[in-house]
Amino acid sequence: MEDAYIIKQISVFSENRPGRLAAIAGALKDGDVNIFAFSIAEADGFGVVRALVDAPEKAHRILTDQGFRVSYTEVIGVKMRDEPGGLYEIATVLGDAGINIEYAYAYSGRDAAVLILRVDHVRDAIKEILSRGGDLLEASAFT
């Protein structure tokens, strides 16, 4: 039952130079793929663009056809109370359970702030959050 909460993020390899994000975003636009949330992680001369989209398989296919290196990454989306302490609650749950956050990014949705998390043990994280009364987005919420 945890699987319902595992969201497929697409991760795209990109060189760090002008126009690369536009190329990725343009390909998704042409394919009519909507982006809910995204972030860019940068390293020495390159980066990885991470995005939650409404059609991950389609996005993967479009970008791969255009020559991008794309892969899926399993993430979870946690609804946060959009007020002081919202992030603290979730971080505490995971920290207490010994689950490590590899990276995170957030967006403000229609009814809540959402924290996207890449953790080392995704199913354990889902169990912990649900058992402590947390609110997770289902993957189907994006499609």
């Binding site: 060189e15 390293a43 020495d44 980066g47 990885v48 290196r69 892969s71 590899e102």
Partner: protein, 429 residues
Amino acid sequence: MYWNKKIETLKSGDLERLQTKRLKWSLNQALNIEFYRNLFREAGVSPDDIATLDDVTKLPFTHKADLRGGYPFGFCAVPMREVVRIHTTSGTTGKPTVVCYTRQDLGNWSELIARNMVMAGIGEDDIFQNSVNYGLFTGGLGFHYGAEEIGMTVIPSATGNTKRQIEMIEDFGVTVIHCTPSYALYLAEAAEEMGASLDTLKTGLFGAEPWSENMRRELESRLGVRAFDSYGLSEMYGPGVAFECPEHDGLHIWHDSYLVEIIDPKTGERLECGERGELVITPLVKEAMPIIRYRTGDITMLMEDGCACGRGQKIARITGRTDDMMVIRGINVFPSQIEHALLSLPGVGEQFMVYIDRIRHLDEMMIVVEIDRDVFSGELQDLARLQSEVAGAIRDALGIRTSVKLAEPGTLPRFEGKARRVVDRRGDL
């Protein structure tokens, strides 16, 4: 000024007699090596057939690949207990070439270095900073012992820490420096930035990579030195094989220790004085590694005899290579070595390019790797790990620092014929 006037100015008849005697000794010494026993038998020659210096053409050549094939001690002509030192050069496919030295060899080598330095006007009153790599590279210890033989003050500064190098020149009153010409320019620039005038420097000995007359003018004006070209190769002890005299018009090669031929690299035929070709050397006094007619791969020519300094026939400054060997930061590198190191890495595959540039007078190697589908996990740290693995593989194989750039698929050139994945974008030095 001479270190060993009698030998350095030996005239043709006496020189030829000495060379012939030593050549015969060298050939007999080579018979201690199985490779040469077989080679001579296959060629149907024996050292007894060599009566004159010209008879040497009856003997087959020795190639770099032969030496590699003898790894580790296949070309050692003496028992190991007589070997007092080993140097190596990096190999094209992982295995280096091993060079052994007897005590006598080290003495011979120091003598040659001493001749060169005295020829350049350096003496026991000088303070000498040896800013080249020590260790397995022959340039460090070779010059070190030769300079000590003369009795000058030697600073074994080795490479790196340019600020400290400049401080030592200033604080110790260094008069002579030995380094690669590109490092010398870098040093000059750094000294200018530090406001150090390097007033005491008067002589620069530059080798391990080819350099031009333009470079000489720049080095001499910026460092305030007279620049001398130094030539050598590990297979012939190391540096010290040939060196410029104050005429700065060609390099005196030490004919009592090396029998010199210039050949057409395609046909193997001997070329005349004044014709450019490949330098072939038969060492005449090497005990531990008496190789025969060694193809150096370096392109030069014999010059007209009769230098004003009174020493023997010179060779011209090296103008190139017969093969694709490059010199990167004083280290000899074949493109195949770089490719070999990268192809053995999982995650690199066939799609990579290697660029050699000169940035602020220093050689820089950049490797561009196209990210393969199988390699991209989506995680940043996996890519960063690939970057450091590539840099580590090159460092381990060649001892060269490199930057690694990851590229998107399809960005690198594709080759229809033989791939040229290593591109040297440096101009002439």
